[in-house]
Amino acid sequence: MELFFTVSLGIISGVFAGLLPGIPIFLGFILFLPFVPVDPLMLLIYGIVMNIGTQFFGSMSALYFRVPGESSSYPVLMEVNNFNTPEKLHLAILLTTLGSLIATLVAALSIWLALYTGILNQLYMPILLKMFLFSLLTIFSMSANKNYIGNFFLLICCSIFVFYPEIASNSKGTLPIYYFNNMLALIIIFAMQMIWNKTDALETANTSKKSNISIRNKIPMMLKYSMIGTLFGLIPQLGATISSYAVYAWEKFRDRDSFSRITASETTNNSAIIFSWFPLLLFGVPITATEILLLQQLNTFGFSLNFINSSSTQLQLLFAMIVSGMIYYVLSVMVNHNFYNKLGKVITQRWFTLSLVLLSVGMFYFLNHYSFGFIIMHIIIFVPISWLIHRLNLSIITMVIGLLLMKDILFTALQVIQIYF
């Protein structure tokens, strides 16, 4: 029952985060997070299922609305004008969704096999590699939007929030000690981003019609790019996006047609997004914002990732990944264009966004012990910060890293210094 509920919630969140233009993946994750049962496996399944969905529906958004649902779907957007007939559009949808499904199956099976056979159990993450990954993650996040200085200052500001109790306690009474809740801060910041980033009008593509063009010939290519995508998945934070652009450029360089280009990019990014969970599952090291958020949630309730060693857990995880991939495929292919248009119009309405914001903050309030004043204090502080992030074109991934990972990063750096110097 819990598994069914969690997979359903992950699918809703994945469709939402994938379809809503300009909304990063982890925003969908965090908004529905308070609804997920407090169980480590359910939290993990929710995160992975949601991530898979964003890749399926990110390209749907680009094809139907001409606005990419997530950053790795830009290659689809670049090609969308080439799908200028209903038949071509339909074929593009069939190819990208089938590619995404095959990628899901390949990546899910790879993860399951590695966990089940224990073939990599003797491997460990050396502290220097961990530090290197953390550094890459921080650099990549700061380079987002090419606003290096702004993102650097954002990181410093986040650190001040993280270490505020220590700063205040050492201020000899000049500052009051106050304990911020990082997850609540992020819920408010992310939720408000949806309001600041609101897309008013969606330009829609042609209505799709069934096409008779064969897609069978593309299957070997999908398998190849699914495997390539697993390697890209190991790149911190940007694995899906980089893989998408890299294989798109490669296919373009080889002068392949538009269908091949978008199939390659969508297959690879789906595989990458699933395989990016691998370092977390094997070594406990998060390399994407969603994983950082998930790890924070697990830590909050004292869960470790040891539960993944149980074979029944691994099977449930595999089951959830494959079933959700199939459901996403069916939803993408079977649901007609009119439905997407209606859904797109609903989820981009201001009332819908506001309702979701209130629901998320409300859920946090009701399911935790914090007082109403505590929630209001966070709203007063973090709504203006969210607006500033929007106005100054700063990266909210930097915010995630700053608020949730900064202590870990600094602690790892301290350990490296203590061991090697």
């Binding site: 502290i127 304990y179 309730f301 004292g302 009701f366 301290l414 350990q415």
Partner: protein, 281 residues
Amino acid sequence: MKKIIATILSIFFTTSVFAKNIEILTTASLKGPQGIVINTVSELTKNSPIKLNALQTNSCGEAVNIFNNTKTPIAIIWSDTMIKHTETTKQNCVIDFETAKPIAVTFASYDVCVSKGIELKSNSTLTLGNVKFNPQISQLSHMNSNNKNIKFKNVTYEGSSQVVTALINKEINVGITSTANAASAIQAGSIDCLYSTGSTKYGQKPLSEFAGKNALSEFKLGMMLFVKNMSAEQIIALEKSLTNGFISAMDQQNLINSKVGINKADLDKFIATARANVQYQ
């Protein structure tokens, strides 16, 4: 109103429909012995009318702040190093004993363990993994006064389980970790624990044989479960669910001197130890 809505929501979003879910805070990391105690207590109360769920905070000050100010039923594992932490962190890590009701207590001994293949050779320099909640400076100087003239370099970790992981990964040479957290790695043969402040279960020798006689050689971390805002019936129900199994469960987890049902003398002695621990840095 909040309680009604929260109850309705908990019916939808938690597995246990009829139990009263109470958060149990930790003053340290859940990845150390406190985590083992909390997880065991959560397991023991799983099917009882009072179910305790772990909640990690960022610091002992935050945990105590929540515990002292919450108006609804809440629990905390408070350790006897928290008066010392109030001094070092300058945050209030001491709960209000007037309103808190002690329920159970247990103690963790600490082991000096080495990575596979590492020997404590005379006149060598070795890295020593230690937990940030342990008295680090005192412990380092105590370890450095060993009878083999080994010089230790301190490496700080968040909890005992991270020290064990670092030992398995051969990140560090030696580690001070709670016996409870080291047990599974010792049994698996991944690390060797040579000396202990209170356990001989895995062939450990007394730490005083290596580092000399000192109070730190006998150091055991005391952890007491406190609750507040609970009715007498709820407290009785909680104690009842712990009476059957708490001591044996703690024993299985290599935690010692456990007891359910704390009297005033037990509490006074515990607080006195906490006050005495202030001497360690």
